[in-house]
């Protein structure tokens, strides 16, 4: 393992030979990279391209149709028409021809002289690109399975002095440089762009066009094309009338493919860094330098993944101090050497690679140390194991949902969702899904720690074997006399003993009961909602399976509701996108409008925000909105001084309840970014986790969150904005808070597999707690004093007083009522109930000294 300095040196210096015409490469004006949307999926059995399709459409509002690309790793030799041996051992060279005449010349100059060609094929396409809405004709793509001719390798070795490399390494380097020369000759030269290399690694393919990423799948007919790893990228470039996809993602190293969401600030610094190592970018986007840098680290320097990730996303601040001593030494050395190549600014990388030396396929997500771009990881482990990474949770859920419709071995909800903390000592801000030779999938963080889901005791729900006949039926009469809370109490204690079939039967009976009338419906909806929201012992069943079932039943009940008509005394009315213009005034304000949100647009005139406002203006005050798939801005700007209650089910999108003023939101699902942005008054309850910038600029109201926050919550909050967070927060909580009467409580708890309350390692992970705050308070449930002064920036930690407890107790009581998180348990430390001042601490701002005009900078 590892290379000698000598070898590395030879590789780098000999690269100078291919930099023949420097003037070509002098052009330094970088194309603007906009932001984007990214997704990656890795599965133990191959997945067809059509499943990626829907999730790419889901991320349309992250791209502008001016560039999209996909990559596939772990291909099917049958579909490619080659033997398994060729697929494994030959390089799959994919070349995009931008005009119809350059192929002959390219093949003559770059391919025939050096390569033994095992197979040549043109990638099949549909007949007319305009049919699928493309404006620019995608390039013709030819695939060549090649190996380098023996004498070419020998010459290469001798000319460049690379005697110490293995044959495979030589071949790799040859392929790499040959592609570079092809690109300089036929793409980067001044004049017409004729052709470029899309990918050249083994067992992988890259395709990109000027259009949306899903149009790649359509155009090149990949719906049924199978691969074990797919990545996709929706680009949002802002420069130039783009007529060729050279600048689109993905970009390649050799056996690594990289896509990127974000926009570095230091492209030129990284480009300089690479030029010092004789690597000159050709496509002038920051993503390309990222891919080149990654290739340099992993292939030329042969760094293990952990070190490559450290070089890209260095560990700093408190996280660095928390590392073990040996690691600190190495990391310091890495940082000293590589800091100038480290990208600065918002970025999130997904890398798909064929790790030939370990015979593994890998999918890696790496997040930047300031956590400026959103990222979600997900894992499902059953007969089939599948790992996913995306910019939005909605994109992941869409893939799973599509897969589970066609293959019952998948569940529409992942078993676990989580976020990485960039540059941290806990997970390193990176997670790696590895498919090894025996077709097993593992998820590890940067340090190699495994992410575990599968408890050997658990059964997952195999739908095809579920048989709901032949079991005791539960007497429907029970329901009638029960309070939902009592029934739920019974269920939460007994569901652990039920198998799936019994659960299914119970739910079916519940649904039938609900069909009787609206009182029954209310009962059933409440029970199902409690089952979804609360955490209890699921026994040997996966929570994700149960949630899927609950949601299904709940939606069945919603779907059976009558349509909205005027002057009806029904309690519930259902409306969907197709009926959206047929909305009537309600007769009374306690009637409930149930909205199937599925077909509403992501935002705008036919989106959910304006619809809700219209319904409110007509007089509706109670809403259930379900079947979300990422629609944004729901509830945004809704002002009311009356009692308005909104229940939300499904994968609701960003900016939920932004600028809302008065309503009460109950979200029975985790949420993502910019939720409750500038929330002014009212209440928002999240029965799950929360993404980025929660309650940014919030002015009032109260928020209750069952799970964790990612980063940057309650920034610039003012007034009386208050939040109770039961989980933990990763970083940048309450920056620039100026809230005189508001406060935040972070309990730092989580739920065990059997529904018990446990403390997390710490309520607050990052190095910037309550920075630059001028007013306000953060209460931490931190009996073991895990949070230290070195995590503060302009604030200080002190103990709480009776007064503090008096202030937060009423909210903790409400917290108990909503989530069944008993205050008694919160105050229990190591089995004993302690006094609040021994469990909670508070963080308050230091006095801020006013800056004057004469201060030189802030």
């Amino acid at each position: 393992m590892g290379r000698s300095i000598n070898q590395i040196d030879k590789i780098i210096t000999s690269k100078k030979n291919i930099i023949t015409n420097l003037s070509i490469i002098k052009n330094d004006t970088i194309e603007a990279e906009g932001g984007c949307g990214v997704i990656g999926v890795a599965s133990t059995i191959p997945i067809k391209g059509k499943y990626l399709f829907q999730s790419l459409i889901q991320m349309h509002n992250r791209g502008n149709g001016k560039g999209g690309g996909i990559a596939a790793v772990g291909l099917s030799h049958k579909q490619l028409g080659v033997t398994p041996k060729i697929l494994e051992n030959s390089y799959l060279l994919l070349i995009a021809y931008l005009d119809s005449i350059s192929r002959e010349q390219v093949e003559k100059e770059c391919i025939y002289p050096y390569f033994d060609i095992k197979s040549v094929k043109k990638i099949d396409t549909i007949n007319d690109y305009k049919v699928i809405g493309l404006e620019v004709k995608p390039p013709d793509v030819w695939s060549y399975f090649v190996n380098v001719k023996e004498d070419a390798i020998n010459n290469f070795k001798i000319i460049n002095g690379l005697e110490n490399l293995s044959r495979e390494q030589l071949e790799d380097e040859f392929i790499y440089r040959n592609s570079y020369m092809l690109n300089t000759r036929f793409y980067a030269s001044l004049g017409d762009k004729k052709a470029f290399v899309l990918s050249h690694g083994k067992n992988m393919m890259v395709l990109k066009i000027v259009g949306y990423a899903e149009q790649v799948i359509q155009y090149y007919k990949l719906e049924d094309f199978e691969a074990q790893i797919w990545i996709g990228h929706q680009r949002y470039p802002t420069k130039g009338k783009i007529w060729h996809p050279g600048g689109s993602h993905p970009f390649i190293g050799l056996n690594d493919i990289l896509i990127h969401n974000g926009d570095f600030a230091n492209y030129h610094s990284i480009a300089e860094y690479l030029k010092q190592r004789n690597i000159y970018p050709l496509f002038l986007t920051d993503t390309e330098v990222a891919a080149l840098y990654w290739d340099l680290l992993t292939r030329t320097y042969q760094y293990p993944l952990e070190y490559a990730i450290e070089a890209i996303a260095p560990t700093t601040e408190k996280d660095f101090t928390m590392l073990p001593k040996a690691k600190k030494k190495i990391y310091k050395a890495i940082q000293t050497t590589h800091i100038h190549g480290s990208p600065d600014g918002p970025w999130f990388f997904i890398v798909a690679r064929n790790n030939l030396s370990e015979k593994q396929l890998q999918l890696i997500g790496i997040t930047d140390t300031s956590m400026l771009r959103p990222q979600v990881f997900a894992l499902q482990e059953r007969d089939i194991k599948i790992g996913l990474i995306a910019s939005e949770k909605q994109a992941i859920d869409t893939i799973l949902s599509c897969l589970s419709k066609d293959d019952k071995r998948y569940s529409p909800i992942a078993d676990r969702y989580w976020y990485a903390r960039g540059g941290s000592y806990t997970d390193g801000g990176a997670f790696i899904f590895t498919i090894n030779k025996s077709k097993n999938l593992n998820c590890t963080d940067k340090f190699g720690k495994k992410v575990k889901i599968l408890d050997n005791n658990k059964h997952y729900f195999k739908r095809e074997t579920c048989n709901s006949q032949n079991f005791l039926s539960i007497n429907k009469k029970i329901f009638r006399n029960l309070e939902p809370k009592v029934l739920f109490e019974y269920l939460s204690n007994n569901i652990r003993n039920w198998d799936i079939d019994r659960t299914v039967l119970f739910l079916e009976n519940l649904r039938k009961y609900a069909s009787k009338g609206h009182i029954e419906k209310t009962f059933a909806i409440e029970i199902l909602t409690l089952l979804i929201d609360r955490r209890y012992d699921f026994g040997r069943k996966f929570r994700s399976d149960l949630i899927t079932l609950y949601e299904e039943k709940l939606y069945e009940i919603f779907n059976s509701l009558p349509q909205v008509v005027a002057n009806s005394v029904n309690k519930y009315f259902r409306i969907d996108y197709n009926q959206r213009d047929k909305l009537f005034k309600p007769l009374t304000s306690d009637q409930i409008l149930v909205v199937d949100v599925y077909d509403f647009k992501a935002e705008g005139n036919n989106g959910t925000c304006q619809f809700l406002q219209r319904a409110y203006d007509l007089g509706w005050r109670n809403f259930i909105a379900y079947n979300f798939r990422g629609q944004r801005n729901f509830g945004a700007g809704l002002i009311t001084s009356e009692k308005v209650k909104i229940d939300i089910y499904g994968r609701v999108g960003d900016c939920l309840a932004a600028f809302a003023d008065g309503p009460e939101f109950h979200v029975h699902e985790s949420v993502q970014d910019s939720v409750a942005y500038c929330f002014r008054s009212g209440k928002i309850v999240i029965y799950g986790d929360v993404g980025k910038t929660f309650e940014y600029g919030a002015k009032g109201g109260v928020a209750f969150v069952l799970g964790d926050l990612v980063d940057r919550p309650l920034i610039n909050s003012v007034g009386s904005a208050t939040a109770i967070i039961n989980g933990s927060c990763k970083d940048y909580l309450g920056e620039s808070c100026m809230s005189a009467s508001g406060f935040t409580v972070i309990n730092g708890i989580k739920f065990s597999e059997n529904g018990k309350i446990l403390s997390q390692e710490t309520p607050y992970h990052g190095g910037n707690l309550f920075p630059l705050a001028a007013a306000g308070t953060v209460y931490l449930r931190d009996p073991f004093k895990t949070v230290g002064e070195d995590q503060l920036n302009g604030s200080k930690i002190s103990s709480i007083s009776n007064n503090d407890w008096k202030i937060i107790l009423p909210l903790l009581k409400e917290n108990e009522r909503l989530f069944d998180i008993k205050i008694k348990y919160l105050l229990t430390v190591n089995g004993r109930v302690r006094k609040p001042e021994h469990v909670y601490r508070k963080v308050i701002p230091l006095k801020v000294v006013a800056l004057t005009k004469y201060d030189r900078g802030m």
Binding site: N64, R632, A636, G637, S739
Partner: protein, 514 residues
């Protein structure tokens, strides 16, 4: 052919400077040891009656003395000197007023300031003061319209000039939202409550209403006193989100998302603790007497698709509102502009380096960002090559001082301009820069001190601004007439800005011509 009057311009009313002793260019000095109070100087003073007077009452008390008072700054000083020559005891002398010399700087010269005061007073130009050009030696001050060089003597009789269409559209996209049209190609800049007083805001709001244009709340919230002018108030959402809520978004016809400010790019807003009194704190929902820092970025906008999401959110909350995006001028301003277009912005407001600010460290103000006259052509050209120039309105701001500056920036590729400092000067601002040091604006404009703020009466202030714009309107009519153009939209270049031998689109750059 006489154009049909498209808009009834507001009435000009004479509106004098608040203080008796206005700063004037010349002053007459009396040597008391020689003055016999014969009063010959008073009688000799040509045309400008009342330039000198006896202080009679004092005289009767035997304390009297002759005072020379330059009413209406009419004294022609060194160009006249009749009183000096007539005085039998040679007691008089005339010089340039040192106050005049101290006033202003190279960009805002004393002439420009006094000229604005004059226009605010009378609604007309006076030839006394240079009203078109400063002395910065660059930028607008080196550009001339071709007719200016042909005929040095500009006619002052602008009352005869025909009304020409100077209206511009603030929504050129086809997004189905209101196509708001304003009769003159300017509206008022963002100045927050806290950086200026409520009376100042009211004066500006009333004037905006009279001219059917707009003014902006700035980032300090939307005072309830402004609600009755809501059809002319732009709600600003800045990174601190002070006072921004669903109501102020729904109330407004235009919302401006302030991503950056030209005067301090890379820095957020910064209101010094002294200026945060209880009123300011109340509207911003914070505790008084703490410094208020807005963060530099919007923490939920770190990428262009975040920007798209941000713009769409505002458009969703108010289905009728137009969204303006205010940015400063980094070197890749063209990328920023096209990003704003794709995000759905109707207006992009480009704020150049010479903009004003209520508070920012000197090192930022003096050294960062591009002047607006360089940034606008870059953006204009780029949007043309992208094929979208006619679908978005570009408003230029940051150091646009006069009607001629406005016309020049339009000729360089902007649709219109956003005016800040000039409006404050119309209210009597002397550009002493005290506002940046705390509460003490001696003119009562950029302060929240209740006593100082009373110096500005909103009605008076409103009329001053109305007058200034009336004078500007006539200057635009004049410029367009001289250029032979039928409307100001014709002054906007259809093609890319390309100076050839120092000339482009009726503009001449003096550095490049002999």
């Amino acid at each position: 052919m006489k154009q049909k009057l498209l808009f009834q311009t507001p009435e000009i009313k004479y509106c004098s400077y608040r203080y008796q002793n206005i700063i004037t260019k010349y002053e007459v000095i009396i040597d008391r040891s020689r003055c016999t109070e014969c009063g010959l100087c008073v009688q000799t003073c040509p045309k400008y009656i009342g330039t000198a007077r006896f202080d009679y009452e004092a005289f009767q008390k035997h304390e009297g003395y002759l005072r020379i008072i330059n009413l209406n700054s009419q004294c022609k000083g060194l160009l006249c000197q009749k009183c000096v020559n007539k005085c039998p005891t040679k007691a008089l002398s005339v010089r340039i007023n040192p106050q005049y010399l101290a006033l202003g700087d190279y960009r805002w010269t004393s002439d420009l300031i006094l000229s604005i005061w004059k226009q605010a007073e009378t609604g007309k130009l006076s030839n006394r003061y240079e009203y078109k050009i400063g002395s910065s030696g660059g930028g607008f001050d080196r550009l001339r319209f071709d007719f200016e060089l042909k005929n040095k003597r500009v006619s002052n009789n602008q009352n005869d000039i025909e009304y020409i269409d100077t209206s511009i559209s603030l929504n050129k996209s086809n997004d189905g939202r209101p196509r708001i049209i304003i009769p003159i190609p300017v509206y008022g800049a963002d100045m927050s409550f806290g950086s200026v007083s409520l009376n100042t805001m009211l004066a500006r709001a009333k004037a905006a209403q009279a001219w059917n244009i707009f003014t902006s709340t700035g980032e300090g919230g939307y005072p309830s006193e402004l609600i009755k002018y809501k059809n002319h108030i732009i709600t600003q959402i800045a990174t601190g989100h002070f006072g921004v809520n669903a109501e102020t978004i729904k109330r407004a016809k235009i919302v401006v998302l302030k991503y950056a400010q030209g005067a301090k790019p890379g820095l957020g807003g910064h209101l010094l603790a002294d200026k945060v009194n209880s009123d300011v704190a109340k509207i911003r929902d914070v505790v008084p007497n703490i410094s208020l820092f807005s963060p530099f970025p919007f923490h939920n906008v770190y990428s262009v698709e975040d920007h798209y999401r941000h713009v769409q959110l505002i458009k969703d909350i108010n289905p009728e509102v137009l969204v303006s995006v205010k940015v400063s001028t980094p070197t890749d301003i063209d990328m920023v502009a096209i990003g704003c277009y794709y995000a759905g912005a109707n207006i992009i407001q480009i704020d150049g380096a010479f903009g004003g600010t209520g508070a920012a460290p000197d090192i930022a103000k003096n050294n960062i960002a591009m002047p607006i006259e360089y940034a606008i052509p870059i953006v204009h050209n780029y949007l043309i090559s992208e094929g979208v120039r006619d679908k978005i309105t570009i408003m230029a701001s940051g150091g646009i001082r006069t009607a001629y500056d406005v016309a020049k920036i339009i000729a360089l590729g902007a649709d219109g301009a956003v005016i800040g400092t000039s409006e404050l000067i119309a209210l009597g601002c002397k550009r002493c820069a005290n506002c940046e040091r705390g509460r003490g604006c001696p003119s009562g404009i950029a302060t929240t001190d209740p006593i100082l703020a009373n110096y500005i009466d909103p009605e008076w202030g409103c009329q001053r601004i109305i007058n200034m714009y009336s004078s500007w309107k006539k200057q635009w009519d004049y410029i367009l007439t001289k250029l032979g153009l039928g409307s100001i939209k014709e002054l906007l270049p259809k093609n890319k800005v390309e100076f050839k031998k120092g000339r482009f689109n009726h503009l001449i750059h003096l550095d490049h011509v002999r």
